[in-house]
Symmetry: C2
């Protein structure tokens, strides 16, 4: 198939046959041949694709199919901020360029974190439980202004979370892989989480961040601290979080991401006291498909014109470096 394809008309393979065609691709009509694949068909279709668009970002099929036989797309774009679901050693070692949806999720995730921070400070989950019981029980709540947050992850999402919380009067420290102006390095992490009221995980999943929230780190936090994870499930050692909550080392937690999604019905996390569970939706606001489609089309037009791509992932590190 690739041989019969005119050299000037590249094949775009879209992973995510169930999700329907991405919006805005109509703009590329006549300039690209679009094919769709589901997880099962991906390995068979990869050799014929010039570009792979990972539209179903819950799929791990790229990681599974990539090491197979035949040519590979020279460019892979994922409609997500994280790239851990597609990276494998063979893709990292290849010449293929990987780009992500940097920017699209920053504000939605930051608002989601602010929603959780305020809801926890104002004890809203308990209020709605009490409403269900027709129970009028006045409680005192806490002010958010003047509290202290430590955001782990210094990419655009982490920085937007920091900016949003600062707008609410929170004192925010951001921790990244290397210290920068206004960004702390990993050496400061324990000191910062020890005094934080809010510890917010918004880091990419890499070999450096996997399991970073372990028993020791939860032990360092204050009894009044709340932990929020909007990064990746594997940043957290589940047993350690369960123990920290049950021993009241921390006051509460909210997880939007899990090592395996959807979270199994029999997971203990659904009912862990002090833990709020949401189904990986922090960044997913109405209208994002349109923005993600437009972002891909803009990248495609750069690629087509031979101009350098933006949002290029450092495959060894596992994220887009720089600010």
């Amino acid at each position: 198939m690739p041989a019969s394809r005119p050299a000037h008309r590249p094949t775009l393979l879209v992973l995510g046959a169930d999700t329907g065609p991405p919006p805005r691709l109509g703009r590329l009509t006549g300039r690209v041949r679009i094919e769709y694949a589901d997880d099962a068909a991906l390995a068979r279709r990869l050799p014929g694709a010039d570009v792979l668009l990972v539209w179903d970002v819950t799929s791990h099929a790229v990681r599974a199919a990539w090491p197979g036989q035949g040519p590979r797309p020279r460019w892979v774009h994922t409609a997500s901020a994280g790239v851990d679901h597609l990276m494998c050693p063979e893709l990292t070692a290849s010449d293929t360029v990987v780009t992500n949806a940097r920017g699209i999720f920053d504000l939605p995730v930051a608002e989601y974190v602010a929603a959780l921070v305020l809801a926890l400070a104002k004890d809203l989950p308990r209020t709605w439980d009490l409403q269900g019981e027709r129970e009028w029980r006045h409680r005192e709540t806490t002010r958010v202004a003047g509290t202290r947050a430590c955001v782990v992850g210094s990419g655009p999402i982490g920085r937007t979370i920091a900016r949003t919380l600062k707008a609410l009067g929170v004192t925010v420290s951001v921790v990244g892989r290397v210290p920068h102006t206004g960004i702390h390095g990993p050496d400061d992490l324990d000191r910062l989480i020890a005094r934080a009221d809010w510890v917010i995980a918004a880091a990419p999943l890499t070999e450096r961040t996997r399991g970073m929230f372990d028993l020791r780190r939860f032990g360092v936090m204050q009894p009044s601290a709340r932990f929020i994870n909007v990064g990746r499930g594997q940043l957290v050692v589940e047993d350690a979080l369960a123990e920290a909550l049950s021993r009241r080392w921390i006051a509460g937690a909210a997880l939007d991401v899990f090592p395996r999604e959807p979270l199994a019905r029999d997971s203990r996390l659904w009912r862990l006291p002090g833990l709020l569970v949401s189904p990986h939706m922090s960044g997913d606001t109405v209208g994002r498909w349109d923005e993600l489609g437009a972002q891909f089309v803009a990248l495609f037009e750069r690629w087509e014109a031979g101009r350098p791509l933006v949002n290029v992932v450092d495959k060894a590190r596992g994220y887009v470096p720089g600010r």
Copy 2:
């Protein structure tokens, strides 16, 4: 009793015998005689008091006891922003000065409103219902930045709500009794609520504001609008809100205040679809008793020194005028 009291040592009557002595009053030791009254004792004690401190702000006893026989305190301070629970024609007509706790509740109430706005935009109540059912159901949510709010009430609470929502990227209009720089007058109200995503009631209860959110006003709002009341319950016509919600004229509502508090167990409001109920706690953050005590002591020292009081309520209007 008043006659036997030395002229230089005024009697301070504290309404709220159950709540314990207000903090910070120790500073007035030797300079004031402090007496406590509950609702039942208030009428008997009023004639012997120079100053009345309404510490139990859920009590309506002042309004009931004030019209009785005998001398009356020359100054009444309430540890609340609203004064509707104590005003009566006799108090309004008297020379007694009424002051309130202006300032203490501004930021807590504003944060509470921001918490509700974000929780509704991110569909958190539904998320926690689904968590209870161990149900992973991803939904799209909405961005708060770029939405439009109309805050009804231009006092310090309303203005702090506006500032807090603006910090989250919301376009905010404030409506007050009279137009001012940056404040709309009542003539603009219908036009502004017609285009608002968030209509926030933060006005004092006065004869002008009672029942202002009626069937017609809910009819003017957008189907996507949410209504939040942190002012006084009587600003809203309950039947009108119930109808607006059941006919889906608006998308939802959150009430923190009610005409009768606590809300009766058999009130339909506990279970009205789309309505969140909280027990009048928006302003009540940890540490406020201390701030309220310190605020009263500062006012008392002005009064003692013969200096003009601040936070003086315009009794005819029912709130502290000016900015």
